[in-house]
């Protein structure tokens, strides 16, 4: 009994050390979303100039098919890194990609798409204070949501989508939801 009492501080230290080691590997910017399994928030966002009249993004556009909703902005640096991959994924035709041009001037959002490629079926502009983005619980750009056929948010990815994230995480979820 007394022996085990001496071991107690060692045991406490071991548990704390394990927790801290786990904490080191966690990204503090990845906050679990409360919107998972909740319907897409109500929105009706205006189209970008030069993309046609009926190309804005509304809640009803996200029903009937599994879709990927991507938050970007012409001011967003990580989006530049992610964007070529979105253009690639669009070519596969697996899933329609929708864009929300967050906290952006519509003209700049459109110019940015001209420069980096346009993978979006529809894009809505969400000017400051970014009501749609806040309704989506967005904490930064880029962020992407997988929405199922019924218009329910099923998954949220924070940060840039890489080919690895696409093939290992997003694609299996999309395939499963498409069944």
């Amino acid at each position: 009994m007394r022996r085990s009492l001496f071991l107690l501080p060692v045991a406490i230290f071991a548990v704390m050390a394990l927790l801290f080691v786990k904490g080191l590997t966690m990204d503090p910017h990845v906050i679990p979303s409360v919107l998972i399994d909740r319907p897409v928030p109500e929105m009706d966002l205006a189209p970008l100039p030069g993309r046609g009249a009926d190309t804005g993004l509304a809640t009803k556009d996200l029903k009937g098919r599994v879709s990927l909703v991507n938050i970007y902005g012409s001011w967003c640096i990580a989006c530049v890194q992610e964007h070529p991959y979105l253009v690639e994924f669009k070519k596969t035709g697996i899933v329609p990609i929708f864009g929300i041009d967050w906290r952006d001037d519509p003209a700049q959002g459109a110019a940015w798409l001209k420069r980096h490629g346009d993978p979006y079926e529809r894009v809505g502009n969400d000017p400051a204070p970014g009501r749609a983005a806040i309704d989506f619980g967005v904490t930064g750009a880029p962020e992407s949501f997988i929405v199922d056929k019924a218009g329910i948010i099923r998954y949220k990815h924070i940060g840039a989508i890489t080919p690895e994230v696409w093939s290992k995480t997003l694609l299996p979820i999309i395939r499963e939801l498409q069944k």
Partner: protein
């Protein structure tokens, strides 16, 4: 002395800089006060250890604007808080709510304190019982003989 008072007064004037811009403020001081109190407890999602009132991030500014919109629309403080929690979860509250998943957070320190107290009390009680124990029985003749032999051996 005068100088000291002057410097002290200057220091009293220095209030922590808030990121709230005059253009964001509500015309009604009572409503603005409520917005400030709410903003203090809402976490900025970008610079996570600051409140939205302290932070200069765009998202914090947007949330300040939306908090004020809700207040103007007649929401109570709880409704405004719920509005933000519905979108960002309990994480957005700098003061986490007391519920099952946060039990360890709220009660942990007290559990540790009581544990530490019991260890200290246990230690002193044991010391007391050792001190208050009856004296050991005198040595038997056999033990006295052995003691004498040992002492002799070591030359004392």
């Amino acid at each position: 002395m005068k100088k000291v008072v002057f410097v002290a007064l200057l220091m009293a004037l220095a209030t922590p800089a808030l990121a709230v811009y005059p253009s964001e403020m509500l015309p009604d001081p009572a409503q603005e006060h409520r917005a400030r109190e709410l903003g203090k407890d809402l976490r900025c999602l970008v610079c996570q250890n600051q409140s939205i009132d302290d932070s200069d991030a765009d998202l914090a500014k947007d949330l300040r604007v939306i908090v004020r919109e809700r207040i103007k629309a007649g929401d109570t403080d709880d409704m405004v808080r719920q509005f933000v929690v519905d979108r960002y979860g309990d994480y957005v509250l700098l003061k986490p709510p007391f519920k099952l998943s946060t039990l360890a957070l709220w009660l942990g320190p007290f559990v540790l304190f009581v544990g530490a107290l019991s260890v200290v009390f246990g230690f002193y009680r044991r010391r007391k019982t050792v001190a208050a124990a009856p004296p050991p029985p005198p040595l038997s003749p056999e033990e006295q003989r052995r003691l004498a032999a040992l002492l002799k051996e070591s030359g004392q």
